[in-house]
Symmetry: C3
Subunit: 426 residues, 3 copies
């Protein structure tokens, strides 16, 4: 009797997919219209578990056709709770906030986009994080150039693909490659040619770890475990960095002695702070030119920054367009060179640390200083002979006032510097 | 009886390769001199079908030794008619015309090269397409740097390798990679890290399509099916673009809903026309400097352009050498940045579209405007004080005349602009 | 009786690893502390042959913990004599000498580093080769950015990994990739997309050769066989080049007709000498500016070169930091563009030869000439009107004297050039 009921139970389990198919009203049509998607679903764990079309896509066909019924993360969350929560706690869960920007100011927004910032029916955005670089793009460039990757915040299919559930796809570092590459963060490229990546290619994952080995330990969806800087490369304060470092050392110690791992990581911390200092030096040169009114063009003479208006911006909201030559050199230093040096070091890649990173950082500093010298000389050249000494002192005083106004000089320092100039004029 | 003759027929078929070998007079020598080539041929479908050395190489051994008996496409055509015709109808069939350039003007041409442009014995070339950039190269650089790839026009072994016929070689996207890569058209790189390419790596060709899947559908040798711009990135006119687009949507619809495919492609068309506008803006800056005589050096003061002489060239015949700094910036925009943005979009690669493409396009525009400002100020700086106002107006009038002469101003516009300058002078 | 002793002998052989394990006093502790290393050793040929921890690491545990007991090449040499000698005869055996530089002048050197230049207990270094670029780095950047690769001189585990002996790792071109890549010598990248590399991917190593096929023929550890230029790209003199060329043609002839191989290589020699000429042209422009005192900043006005002090350096000790814009352009030409052109040609990669190489070389020459023109005009602009003609002649005379002093003009040439200037002044 028991045997029989077990058999009957097994039969039901075995037939479940078929039952699911039979009950799936979308199939007849979609086997015609999107055979690829149907076939992928049929081979998926979802089909086997009886999770059909409506479960994820809902029933409002009109909305689907209009592209307003995207299968966001909240659709997956009820069944995949742990992954959902880990994801949201990680930097991936911030994807849109760092890249999407506020859509309010752009005309022609597509329906459905609003939900990224607004609760349905709520005019006030849930978050006011905006991205100046996104705001400068056309809707089309914003879509393929920004949101293709940054929508990872709300889209499991960023990594998992749409209708397949095969874990070999998402456990392959290639699934990370399609976003984590390029001039601004070539993690894919630097891993591939690191000792880890090359051993991965020659001797397999057990010997050469991949992205997932270190950044998704034990399958965690919190990809930010063990990181000690924010996504802009700014180091965490010690109180936040230390426990994160301990986590990473723990991950490394799957293969390495913890003392070795800690020493390596600390060496890379040094590379990071040295590189930040180079960046800072360049940034000062630009602010000094701004104080002296020598940027060409000056912020007031170009289209206003989408968030800060007609002011110099060199922080994480810095633009690479509608700017001056020297600022665009600094943009490259900040977004490309610094990232390659630091990420190159943490990924143990000599060529990225030194040549794609450090050498570019220092060569761009050379170019920035040279351009600054040119801009200063231009000013001098433009002044009629005779008046130039008097003019020079006045310019100096104005630059000092600007420096004081933006808080780069204390009241004491300002007084002292002003004194020096006045002394010389006498 | 029937059975016996079938058997006899099979026997002949089975022995044919052996017979071919036996009849192959080149083997005894070449098994010694080029064992690799012999072994590859022996493993090929050609050997099995009894296609021996002479069939492709002819019998004039002296010519072969001198390198004058290359196995061009016409040798393969009689047996591979469909492939030959598809190839000739495609952009591959134009390979030499776009890259080879006319060899008449170069000294020391090698015998055999003539046939690319001339029918044997005919002095007039079949085509007058020339490539200025090719004409500037040394014969050696022209050979490895240009013709290695552009000889695809006339050489099946560009893709098929020389003595092997194994289709796995030519169906591998690697066979495309060796030409379709690099700063000017990194299709290989952008595919590899696109969703298509990464799925190809993790889940195979059925899930992630490769070059051949989309550009050689059903094994067609017409690689230009479905393209809507020429090889320089200039969009086709609507009448030519629309049927091509329909072809591409049809290819996409092997996996995607046609409406989705069309929408994606149309988004990328927008990216293309926006990028063209940025390019155009930069080009105008350069022509304006040319009108004002401010390029450094001016076209008249440098080695003449091989096709256009001492004139500014910014079209597809633009050079990257013997030019000015600002023009070489524009060359990068046109050949590298624009190509990466547009091809990046059509290949669904966010990093190529945005960072390797769009961001570079906009940063180079910043640099071009900055250099233009520098060149204009230099001129002003050079003029002795007092005469500068009068001089400025005269320069302006001359620039307007140049603009009018090259057709960038209508007669009416010219008169109006001239009027404004004269008004100011009064 | 004989049979029995053979059996007994086999038994001993078979048990040896077990005996080795039993005798391995480090295991109990290290199975806990570094399980990865232990497992790799257990699977290695070393374990099978009874080569245990102490054999390589010694017995001074304190030293090991401090990182002062690195397993250098001399530890491996007694057993791997042939490989050791071949390695030392090759460019790999010079790794540290070309990249490490002298550590004497740097503070805070770590114990153990000294041995790279000094015999133990000997104050005089074995070699005085130093690297100016290394001397400019922080100890941390020097470690990951320089020595990670250059320590190949003394470290078999650069390629062989630490505890594994699996030859599939070291026969995989990936083991070369981790150093032979990047902007300055992208051999890995150019091989991958060459005909050789793409055939390797599609048809295997037998058809498409890899790094080891050509540069480590028959497993030789002399990786410099057949090279005809030094590591800076300077061609060997004929007497040294010719036998090396014969070696390489011999390697090629495993697949190609020797006459074909030689012709190809000679074509690439031409590309090399043409590219050297372009480099030389740019170098002259910079030395001329230096003679005229027009570099910005001049060598005397910047931190002194670590080896040459306040003097212009454009040879292999050239820096990319603390220099002028125009010199840093030349650094790129020399280290990146030239290397890509020449190595691209020898690796049969059209895109590296032409676009990443030759085109960059020529575009950087354009930029260098343009910057030189700007620097000269700046000087003129700065001179007060009226005195400029007299001043110009004096500058010219001073530049000629500098040129003569550095040996770029013979006494006769100097006299003649001086005469011309004086003639004009009259």
């Amino acid at each position: 009797m028991i045997k029989l009921s077990v058999f009957a139970g097994s039969l039901v389990l075995a037939l479940m997919p078929l039952l699911a198919y039979a009950a799936e009203p979308c199939l007849p049509c979609h086997q015609e219209k999107s055979p690829g998607a149907v076939a992928q679903w049929q081979g998926s764990a979802h089909a086997k578990a009886g999770v059909g079309c409506e479960k994820c896509h809902g029933t409002d066909h009109e909305k689907m056709v209009k592209g307003e019924a995207k299968v966001g993360m909240k659709v997956c969350a009820p069944c995949h709770k742990k992954a959902y929560e880990e994801h949201r706690a990680s930097r991936h869960g911030m994807g849109l906030h760092s890249g999407w920007g506020c859509t309010r100011k752009l005309p022609d927004r597509k329906p459905g986009e609003c939900r990224f910032c607004h609760q349905e029916g709520d005019e006030a955005p849930r978050s006011d994080v905006q991205c100046a670089r996104f705001l400068k793009q056309s809707p089309e460039m914003g879509e393929i150039g920004c949101n293709y990757c940054h929508s990872v915040e709300d889209a499991c299919d960023s990594c998992h693909s749409k209708h397949m559930t095969d874990l070999k796809i998402v456990r392959d570092p290639n699934s990370c490659a399609k976003c984590h590459m390029g001039p601004d963060h070539p993690q894919w490229e630097m891993w591939q040619t690191s000792l880890h990546g090359t051993l991965n290619a020659s001797a397999g994952r057990g010997t050469g770890p991949d992205c997932q080995s270190c950044h998704m330990p034990k399958g965690s969806h919190n990809v930010s475990i063990g990181l000690t800087m924010n996504s802009g490369g700014v180091p965490y304060p010690a109180a936040k960095a230390e426990p994160a470092r301990a986590e990473m050392v723990n991950i490394c110690s799957g293969c390495h002695a913890p003392s070795f791992a800690r020493k390596e990581l600390e060496r890379n911390d040094q590379v990071r702070s040295q590189s930040l200092a180079i960046l800072k030096e360049a940034e000062q040169v630009i602010w000094d030119l701004n104080d002296r009114g020598l940027l060409d063009p000056m912020p007031a003479d170009r289209p206003p920054h989408p968030l800060s208006g007609p002011r110099l911006v060199t922080d994480s909201q810095m633009l690479y367009e509608d700017t001056s030559h020297i600022e665009r050199l600094f943009f490259k230093m900040k977004k490309y060179d610094y990232a390659r040096t630091v990420k190159g070091a943490y990924h143990q890649n000599p060529a990225y640390t030194h040549w794609y990173g450090n050498a570019e950082l220092k060569m761009d500093l050379v170019d920035i200083k040279s351009e600054a010298s040119r801009l200063k000389e231009r000013k001098k050249g433009a002044a009629p002979a005779g008046v130039s000494e008097q003019q020079g002192a006045e310019d100096e005083l104005k630059a000092l006032k600007n420096k004081f106004d933006r808080g780069a000089l204390s009241e004491d320092e300002y007084a002292k510097e002003k004194g020096k100039v006045l002394e010389k004029m006498r």
